[in-house]
């Protein structure tokens, strides 16, 4: 029997057709249902983390007021807030949520290539979340070691949750990584193997490029976290000394000897820095598509954008120790890591230029998704530029471990990706639900979120320059922190609480619109990419009806001179009257033969 490319094996889609409520909505193997399961779980646990941030801000803004937030609680709150937001919300939402939903639809596939494993991935992720949540209910509560979980402190007396909490955290992370690996292998294989005819790699929408590269980073980076989690569990339960040196514990000589706390930091950040890009690259990709669609213009410099994603992904593995300039590692590392870190600014800057140049001479529709996309550019420019402070080893010295760092990473890794998440949800909401959301509420949500978050994080940078340290429950009496800084803290807390409450507008809008929103057009934004061209909205199981789509062009044929409409869908065959003007269009003429897929 002749080999049939995976992309062309139509019949397989029928093997796991849902026929009962349970197989359709619970044990579903449909990537779209799994995406929604992932998304809702991530948002649910993210709301817990949001509440935790509110509690810690209450303590910082109004110290000596709330006796139910003691230092023990506070350090637990910051730890769980950080870990949930980074791993269980952002990573899961971008890859498990958007990755799952968009990959098959945007590359013209019926589903992921391993649907069962995809389903398993979600349920294992849910297990990881439940283990994490369980740590709130065990003796001693969750770990309060900070989200970086640095040993020896994470498993030594003096830290909250060193008996149960830290073990549950580490086990939960290990389980999460198992879930991610199952999902991640699936995404990579699907992108490489299941693209429809004509969908060459260089015709893929940047959303897919971003998700694809982020998944590869995850597959390479998470194992470092997995081994460090296992080693720390061994240190804690069996008394090994991977990370534990000879030390005192609660006034006694501990039985550890010869381990290296810095080894853990290297492993952690070898995962941790790529993790930043695991979150950022999907955001980069998605925002590129939002800007292009709503500016009715091709993304500027598509090829450069793809290369920048690859370059950033590659470089992200050789910059990790910039998190460790003051860790006590060999100081000569500073030269190397400062250099690599600042080099990564170049491809990142190119991406920013190209986003802005996509707007230039565009036809900008300030829809709700577009507001979030442009808002992202603003916050990302801010967060990216402050990264140049912390990446440059000497500049980092006064700023490291201060509120400058908190301000920086929340701008670049909190606010910016979250703005993209919101933009993306608004953008694809009509396709996912078949209904439109309320535009006015969407705009309120955008403005309050953007201005609110900026008023939280901008002042933090200046508190950091003053020298106000992070991870402090209270500041007591110091000579150099003036009363005005504490007043600012109160103001920041008020902003934070407002921003938190504003998210209710979003939730209300989404929930109301799912049930009551007006019916959406199948392609309300007049976009070119395949997910908008499904026969049904929302797309049915198998996505494409009887025939898979065939792609003839890249995803960015907007406002092509001479075309009848200001967009040409990817599956529209080349038009004889349309004169080609560039190499992308040249590629179009050869399609679909140039993707190398053997003919069945």
């Amino acid at each position: 029997m002749a080999y049939v490319a995976i992309a062309d094996r139509d019949h397989e889609a029928h093997l796991h057709d849902p026929d009962t409520f349970i197989t359709k909505y619970i044990w579903s193997q449909d990537h779209k249902v799994i995406a929604i399961q992932y998304g809702l779980t991530a948002i649910g646990i993210g709301l817990v983390a949001l509440v935790l941030s509110g509690l810690m801000r209450l303590q910082l803004g109004f110290p000596d007021t709330f006796s139910f937030i003691d230092p023990n609680d506070y350090y637990q709150f910051i730890t769980m807030h950080g870990m949930i937001m980074v791993i269980y919300l952002l990573t899961a939402l971008f890859l498990g949520g958007f990755g799952n939903y968009l990959i098959p639809l945007m590359i013209g596939s019926r589903d992921m290539v391993f649907p069962f494993m995809n389903m398993l991935s979600f349920w294992v992720y849910l297990l990881a979340v439940l283990i994490l949540v369980a740590s709130f209910f065990v003796p001693g509560g969750p770990t309060g070691a900070g989200w970086t979980l640095y040993p020896p402190q994470a498993i030594s007396p003096g830290t909250p949750g060193t008996t149960w909490g830290i073990i549950l955290m580490l086990v939960s992370l290990a389980v999460f990584i198992i879930a991610f690996t199952m999902g991640g292998l699936n995404y990579v294989t699907t992108v490489l193997q299941a693209r429809c005819k004509g969908m060459t790699l260089m015709r893929m929408p940047l959303s897919i490029w971003g998700i694809f590269m982020a998944t590869i980073l995850g597959l390479l980076a998470f194992p470092a976290l997995l081994v460090s989690a296992i080693m720390m569990i061994l240190d804690s339960l069996l008394g090994t000394s991977f990370f534990m040196p000879a030390m005192l514990a609660a006034g006694e000589i501990a039985s550890y000897e010869g381990g290296s706390p810095i080894l853990f930091q290297h492993l952690f950040w070898f995962f941790g820095h790529p993790e930043v890009y695991i979150v950022a690259l999907p955001a980069f990709g998605i925002v590129s598509d939002l800007l292009s669609v709503h500016a009715r213009k091709n993304i500027f410099g598509y090829r450069m954008m793809v290369w920048a994603i690859l370059a950033i992904g590659g470089l992200s593995f050789i910059v990790w120790a910039h998190h460790m300039y003051v860790s006590g590692m060999n100081p000569y590392f500073g030269f190397f890591f400062a250099t690599t870190t600042l080099i990564i600014a170049v491809p990142t800057a190119i991406k920013v230029y190209n986003w802005v140049l996509t707007l230039w001479r565009g036809n900008i529709h300030l829809t709700v998704p577009m507001l979030f996309a442009i808002g992202f550019i603003f916050t990302f420019v801010h967060g990216g530029l402050t990264g140049l402070f912390l990446g440059n080893v000497v500049v980092d010295l006064p700023l490291s471990d201060t509120y400058f760092v908190v301000g920086h990473f929340h701008m670049v890794m909190g606010v910016s990706p979250i703005l993209v998440v919101f933009g993306a949800i608004y953008h694809w909401f009509p396709k996912i639900t078949g209904r439109m959301f309320n535009e006015t509420l969407g705009k309120w949500h955008f403005w309050l979120t953007l201005l609110g978050t900026y008023s939280i994080y901008l002042p933090m940078h200046y508190l950091g320059i003053l020298g106000v340290p992070r991870r402090y429950y209270a500041y007591g009496t110091t000579d150099f922190i003036p009363e005005s800084a504490m007043t600012m803290n109160t103001g920041i807390t008020i902003s934070a609480l407002i921003v938190a409450v504003v998210q209710l507008i979003f939730l209300y809008n989404m929930i109301w619109s799912v049930f009551r929103g007006p019916k959406a057009d199948p392609n309300p934004w007049k976009a070119t990419s395949l997910e908008w061209l499904t026969p049904d909205t929302p797309p049915k199981h198998g996505n494409w009806g009887p025939d898979l789509p065939v792609v003839y062009r890249w995803a960015y044929d907007y406002s092509v001179p001479g075309a009848a409409e200001d967009y040409i869908p990817q599956n529209q065959p080349p038009d004889a009257t349309h004169k080609t003007v560039d190499d992308h269009a040249e590629a179009v003429e050869q399609a679909p033969q140039d993707d190398g897929a053997p003919q069945a």
Binding site: S156, G301, I364, F389
Partner: protein, 450 residues
């Protein structure tokens, strides 16, 4: 239009905030002005990019906003422009990186002849060691750390005999002298940071890290721990006193060295018994305490704590706050102990007294007290037994009314507010939790159960 206006206003607002912000670098007190310069260079380069990119974006949003019947321009790429932007960005990056690396090379290279001082961190306080006249530190061994040898000195090492040991969070440094700080931790990660010096570095158990600095301004500065080290992290504060060489030398001469500490006779309970006669009038013949005269139980208390408090009273560090009449009374009594040896003797005698649990006088909800005690137990121990390493006294089986009174004093600034009472300050930061009477009673009720 409105959108672009807001972006422009955000840019103007950010720049205004930058220049108007009252929060900026503390006045520098070290030789590291170069670090400030690299920060300023970075501000200029990034500031220009921030303003340029965002204003250009705002302009584009206004100029190319959607109009009927107008199409976007079709231009997939423009290699010339992209190359040009890449080159400019690379230059900007180099502009920041080059001075950064140049200064870093100086930061990591301590000058020949810099004095060395060891900084020792532990949960949650600082202590220091100077090499003494021979300029060489004695060897230390982690396993030797004990209440009698908190630095873990190897007694046989001749180089260590003259090492000067400072068991206080106050570091003294001479002005205009380069000093290399050798950083060592006894337990977990810490970070030694002085905002006015601009430098910081982690203390890592199992190894010695360092940085060097030349203090240039006489004065006192806060030392903060800036690496999360557990529940007491935010209370791990110290002070660095930068003073003239003469003042420094005078101070150093008063500090005991390892040999003299080792030779120091232990407290003599027999001598202490005579001295205790004065104390017994209030604290009782068996040190059982007497609430009527506000005298707490002493028997069974951690001796390091008793010694420290007697010294605090003697030195005017405790009992001098305005409104602390009872403390002032005790300060007067402590002054009758003429010498350090007398303090040791009397504490040694207290150590021989029978340790009986006093009558409970405070009632409250012990279950709630247990919840409140969650944070306290990190220093005072799950059983309220106290940890000498954390300078935390024993709480279980001690006078409950006294503990309640002291928490109120800590909270209200009558205790722990003296600039030299840095351990007291730690407790003051924690006592802020007890804003109401009920919580206090609940806590003490729980302590009575331990």
């Amino acid at each position: 239009m409105a959108f672009a206006v807001v972006i422009i206003l955000l840019v103007i607002g950010t720049v205004t905030f930058h220049f108007a912000s009252p929060w900026w670098f503390t006045p520098i007190a070290s030789n590291w002005g170069m670090i400030d310069t690299t920060v300023i260079i970075t501000f200029w380069v990034t500031g220009i990019v921030f303003v340029a990119v965002n204003l250009f974006m705002a302009y584009a949003v206004v100029k190319y906003r959607h109009r009927k019947d107008v199409r976007a321009h079709y231009e997939p790429e423009n290699s010339k422009l992209e190359t040009w932007l890449t080159v400019i960005t690379t230059i900007g990056v180099a502009l920041m990186l080059a001075p950064g690396l140049f200064v870093w090379a100086k930061v990591i290279d301590a000058p020949e002849g810099a004095a060395e001082v060891e900084v020792v961190g532990q949960q949650w306080h600082w202590s220091y060691r100077y090499p003494g006249p021979d300029g060489t530190f004695g060897q230390v061994e982690h396993k030797l750390i004990s209440r009698d040898n908190p630095f873990g000195m190897i007694a046989e090492d001749p180089a260590g005999q003259d090492d000067i040991l400072v068991s206080s969070p106050v570091l003294h440094l001479p002005v205009n002298q380069p000093v290399k700080l050798l950083l060592r931790s006894k337990d977990v990660l810490h970070n030694f940071a002085v905002a006015e010096f601009r430098l910081k570095m982690d203390l890592v158990p199992g190894m010695v890290t360092y940085f060097w600095v030349e203090p240039t301004q006489v004065g006192e500065y806060d030392i903060l721990c800036e690496e999360l080290c557990g529940v007491g992290h935010h209370t791990m504060q110290g002070r660095v006193v930068v003073e003239s060489q003469e003042d420094f030398d005078a101070w150093l001469a008063q500090q005991p060295n390892f040999a003299s500490l080792a030779e120091q006779p232990a407290g003599d309970p027999v001598a202490g018994q005579a001295l205790y006669a004065v104390c017994s009038a209030c604290h009782g013949a068996d040190g059982e305490g007497n609430q009527v005269v506000n005298a707490p139980k002493l028997a069974g208390q951690e001796w390091t704590y008793l010694e420290r408090q007697l010294h605090n009273y003697k030195d005017g560090v405790r009992g001098t706050a305005e409104g602390d009449a009872l403390g002032a009374q005790m300060a007067g009594m402590a002054a009758t102990l003429p010498t350090d040896q007398a303090v040791r003797d009397v504490v040694a005698y207290i150590g021989t007294l029978p340790d009986n649990r006093p009558q409970s006088t405070v009632t409250g909800n012990a279950d709630n007290g247990k919840r409140l005690y969650t944070t306290c137990q990190f220093c005072h121990g799950p059983q309220g037994q106290g940890y000498w390493t954390m300078n935390a006294p024993r709480l279980s089986g001690m006078s409950d009314w006294y503990m309640a009174d002291q928490i109120v004093k800590f909270r209200d600034g009558l205790r722990g507010s003296h600039p030299r009472d840095l351990y007291g300050r730690q407790m003051a930061m924690m006592a802020d939790l007890f804003q109401d009477e009920q919580a206090l009673n609940d806590l003490v009720a729980y302590l009575n159960e331990l």
